[in-house]
Subunit: 341 residues, 2 copies
DNA sequence: CCACGTCGCTAAACTGATTTAGCAGAGCAT
DNA sequence: ATGCTCTGCTAAATCAGTTTAGCGACGTGG
């Protein structure tokens, strides 16, 4: 921009009308009695001057900023965040809004700071996101405005957007059943009650619920449940090894996420077993690594983009009050086959 | 916030002073002749009322918004973006600024839209980020304000922040030399000239430059250069296999990034070779997967957080005019050892 | 005693939009 | 001629700050 920006007053002057008229025309106000000719003159003037309203001035008066705050505990930095943000960004753009991003890093001071920055800027709404599905304490200061929780729930029963982990669990179990697996399906990644990480337990519980219910409906129950303190490859590796030491080897293994599955792949590789011929593996998340593994890992994808998108929709279009579940589509790759023999 | 926010006028009234006085005190203006007592009264009043200035009103007058736009072609969605954003977020917070995030997705319409949104909001500066180091066409509209390129360069010779790929190349080569590797060092991931992907070629060239220069200084040259159309695991896998088919097997392999290295690991695993006993592997990026591989992959880390941070620093603190290189630290894990026998 | 400078502070303008209140003129009925 | 409504438009207030210009009191030197 070399020269100054045109203001509403410039537009009005050029159109030979008042600022009031120009404002009303440009905002498409109903019920105004301005002539068709006045409309045309204003539009023409605005066009010629390349007029764009000054957001600060407008929001000073209207208290609307066309801005959404995206507050996350620690999301923005993780791989999982990317999709959430991208989806939110897309949906926001479609509604002429913009995203202000903040991270609390789980630190109370940073959180307070972030909330203040948000309140100072009078954002139109807040998306409060958590890195992993969990229960969140929402700072009361932002409860005044509209808030949507993303990948989290809260005691305040605010609207929230969650992945349909239970449905995904059902689908995963269904898939194994459909391939003919029955009594020798094992699971890797259940948390020991004492070690339950609040950050993953909600997702874990829901997935497990879906799995168990579906298997039970087919008269099947899990052969074994490998416990893992966390969901990292090394834990999947260890769990897989102990699983292989058992007298009856499973025909299929459900991993609670792709990192565990990666560890399981490593253990199977070392044991000289082939996926899916000797053993099928299926998992959750659709981490990029799932596509890179050999063979590709079948997994129920966390629909990050859809979730980010939905959060904005609920916030701006005023969706349902309660929880909004986004389906987790199954990515079918080569890691699942019929059991040997 | 149950009740209304206090305004400057409220503070002034409570302090028994004018808005002017309150404004000057709170902004710490030098050269004003307000008494020490006046200062105290204003501070006390502001404190008691929990006063926070209205950003819209302030920026209407000052044309400063304490907001930085983070525009990326496609960054925000990728894993690489996370660190950039997080670093920028931290540095921005330290300077009482906030980040407005936008994505162009490489689409001209989206880009125009993003630029307009940014100009409308009168951001104080723009960080223009690219997903992979490359040359970028900066839209002229934002050249009026201050711009910093992140992970990209441009013909306009704007200030930019880049990873020190050449230094990393040198360090990687140095590391192999230090372990005793000499004439049997191979490379995976060079691009064929025709297939050069503009998105990665800059980084690739710099890394290669560093590698070659360091080896040359030791009187060594690369045993072989495995070409790869892209930098994905499958290409690393293929390149490693053809490398193993050669008469003289390398003692060490440099992969141009961790995904290629992952593919190389897979090929080595299938060939029954052990890392690092039979062959050392070293790489670039420090993708999360590098830590998950068995053995852990030694790799020169892309310092995303530092880069994001530096971008904000250059933008706000007015750093050097030219390019600012951020060192890539080597993450030493277990994939490098002395050559066998 | 007056001119002048300094001190401590304030009134009012200003930023660029939205919104309220209301004005002038035309048309119509009485 | 008067009162009424309706039409098409505008003046001015408002949002919450920052900034400019300047006012009254006091001290001082001539």
């Amino acid at each position: 921009m070399g020269h100054e920006r045109a203001t509403l007053a410039d537009v009005a002057r050029r159109a030979g009308l008042s600022k009031t008229a120009a404002s009303m025309v440009l905002n498409g106000r109903e019920g105004t009695r301005l002539s068709a000719e006045a409309h045309q003159r204003v539009f023409a003037a605005a066009e010629e001057l390349g007029y764009r309203p000054n957001v600060a001035a407008r929001s000073l008066r209207t208290r609307k900023t066309a801005t959404i705050a995206f507050v996350s505990d620690i999301v923005a930095t993780t791989r999982f965040a990317g999709g959430l943000i991208r989806g939110a960004l897309d949906a926001a753009r479609e509604r002429d809004h913009v995203l202000l991003i903040t991270e609390t890093q789980g630190d109370a001071t940073f959180e307070r700071y972030a909330i203040e920055a948000i309140l100072d800027r009078q954002v139109d709404g807040v998306i409060y996101a958590a890195m992993a599905t969990r229960r969140l304490a929402v700072p009361p200061a932002i409860l005044g405005g509209s808030v949507v929780l993303l990948n989290a729930t809260s005691p305040e029963s605010l609207p929230c957007v969650l992945p349909d982990d239970e449905g995904a669990g059902a689908m995963v179990a269904e898939t194994l059943l459909a391939h003919g697996h029955r009594d020798r399906i094992a699971l890797i990644g259940r948390n020991r009650p004492k070690e339950r990480d609040p950050e993953i337990s909600l997702a874990a519980d829901a997935r497990l619920r879906g799995i168990r219910a579906t298997l039970a409906a087919a008269g099947v129950s899990l052969l074994a449940e490998g416990f893992c303190p966390e969901w990292l490859p090394e834990h999947g590796y260890a769990a897989m090894r102990t699983l292989l030491d058992r007298p009856t080897r499973p025909t299929a293994v459900i991993c609670m996420n792709d990192r565990l599955a990666f560890g399981a792949y490593q253990a199977l590789g070392e044991a000289g077993l082939t996926i899916p011929d000797d053993l099928s593996v299926i998992s959750f998340d659709d981490d990029p690594i799932a596509a890179w593994l050999r063979p590709g890992l079948s997994t129920a994808a966390l629909p990050h983009e859809q979730m980010g998108r939905r959060a904005v929709e609920v916030l701006l279009d005023g969706g349902a009050g309660g929880a909004s579940f986004v389906p987790m589509p199954l990515r079918r790759r080569r890691s699942v086959a019929a059991p040997a023999g």
